[in-house]
Symmetry: D2
Subunit: 198 residues, 4 copies
């Protein structure tokens, strides 16, 4: 079995019964066991203000940055607000990216699942997020893409996924993501070993 | 002279000495006089959380929505954070767009100026913002586009624009925006008068 | 009744039985009568090559540019190829935008309908196209957006729309577009009349 | 020394003296020796038309697909036309992506250099291209990004890069791309060897 990998899960909605939060929780149960998913809260992060960096960052910024920095990979689960990334998620990205030169996101393999009760799979959020991740130097898994529409019907009372074909799709997504994380880390190890042979 | 038009100016950075804030202030002085520009603060808006709508919106949300709703047009002045809209600006957009069906942005003619001390004109923010404005039903001025690079050299001590050619460009931008706002309002009036002749 | 408006319809697929072509034809029958829609072919446009401009443009480029230039508005009906605008449509846009300073698209009010047999409404094509139209100085109708999924089931043998609710949606879209075109032209007329009173 | 890697270079402009073509040629001379760059022509590809697939694809489509399929990686060098990918480049992408299920691009590690005589680094082309590459399942190198502005001043008579700091930047880009290609291939090998031990 592959070594454990710590995955920071960032959920783009603060709503208590958020479909995105429930999807994130379902993904955690459907993931290969060596991926250890933890939802990292973003609701208490003050709005990013550069005047506070680097001398007086609010405590929640510091804790968030440290938590993300520890991760072996990042999974974003996000709704679309107004055809783009929710402000609350973008704020978390901005906070994690600073201070300049000390981004917590750097080089983390990542993936995105976009989720909506509507019809268009939150496509706009999915791809705006990917554009930000280019700058963050995060290798993002291209396929399988995951655009989940109709989230109002996904969950049973206990949070389980009702539709077996959706469950299968999510399971396959997490397997692919586990492979992606592994491929990036193993590839880097191989490269480092070439360049600095023991 | 055309009738006065109230323009809400939304600045996408909270930094006290923000190049964007200074640019917004310069734009106000260079604008045709019948456009009345006012910077509407967004730094005190709590992160959007749908659980608070429509029953218990924080007071700053309510005030922000009312202020935007009164405006005859909206001017965004924004930096780029991580190749997209700053979270703080996207949060303001999300707050103003809700509760569902009661967006404060609806039908406001708008424009965007993107400003960066760097080299690429904050292009990523400019166009992600435009994508959001499609959903918000805001007719956005297409040309002139305004991508302002090298903002570190823009301002004299007193906030005036140092480079006359930049000043001219900003003045022309504001004239074009005034025409855009006027064209949309006049066009709507003409249409309404066709459909409901007195 | 408003005066006649000539609308150039650009269909982003060359396939003979293209869902987009059929949708464009349906839109023509569902449009307010004063909008006169004509599909302008793009399949014979040689790939854009700047070496041919302005001295030796291929005849199809010249004809296309003249046809677009005559129009009072432009309606794009497009599929999504690889999460973006089809190359064939982007080529037509590029051809029409040149030679430098003589774009045929300039100031035409426009709208986009994106159509797919798949599930995500061809969202990627819709918004990449809108980004190009900013540069082209085309005021694009923001709402209603039209993302049409499941196009495999849209049409009866004779090309009519089978689903009455879809027919109603398309009819409303065309009414809104007619208003958009009218609003832009009437607004411009009012502005011009202010600035150059007779 | 790492094993040779065959890199298909796709240039997004047909102009004979294209800055993009010259940049591609310069990149080939500045690349680590084990990357073997070859510019693959796209100017003779007929506009994509699904009716021709899979039964009667034009010969240039077939040759292009075979050439791309052989590559170990893909380097795009592209201008921006109208804030997006040139139609000629998007057409090549579309041709290579078909017939359905047989994309020639699949899983190729890739990178993009965007080049403009203007000021904004062809940002719009760079990121629209990246969005397409998500669908194509191409792992795209996130950093270093390469937005090259002011291309009118890049080249000496013999095509060499005049500015040493630009030459250094391009050399570093190619070294980073070589590492990216190697990392992806080595990571995949490691993964495959885990899953199917000999």
């Amino acid at each position: 079995m592959p070594q454990p990998r710590d995955i920071a899960v960032i959920v783009g909605s603060l709503r208590k019964d958020s479909f995105n939060r429930k999807t994130a929780q379902a993904l955690a149960t459907l993931s290969p066991a060596h991926l250890q998913l933890e939802i990292v809260g973003i609701g208490d992060l003050p709005l990013y203000d550069q005047d506070l960096d680097p001398d007086s960052p609010p405590a929640p910024w510091v804790a968030f940055r440290e938590r993300v920095r520890r991760a072996d990979g990042v999974l974003f689960v996000t709704p679309e607000y107004n055809r783009s990334i929710p402000g609350v998620l973008k704020n978390a990205i901005d906070v994690g990216s600073r201070p300049y030169g000390k981004s917590a996101w750097e080089k983390k393999p990542g993936a995105v699942v976009s989720v909506t009760p509507g019809a268009l799979g939150a496509f706009g959020a999915n791809h705006h997020l990917r554009q930000a991740c280019v700058f963050l130097d995060m290798p993002m898994m291209p396929q399988p893409e995951a655009y989940l529409s109709g989230a109002g019907d996904f969950f049973a009372e206990d949070g389980a996924i009702k539709d077996p074909s959706l469950e299968k799709l999510l399971r396959r997504f997490m397997t692919a993501f586990a492979d992606w994380v592994e491929m990036i880390h193993r590839g880097r190890d191989a490269l480092a070993s070439d360049q600095h042979p023991g």
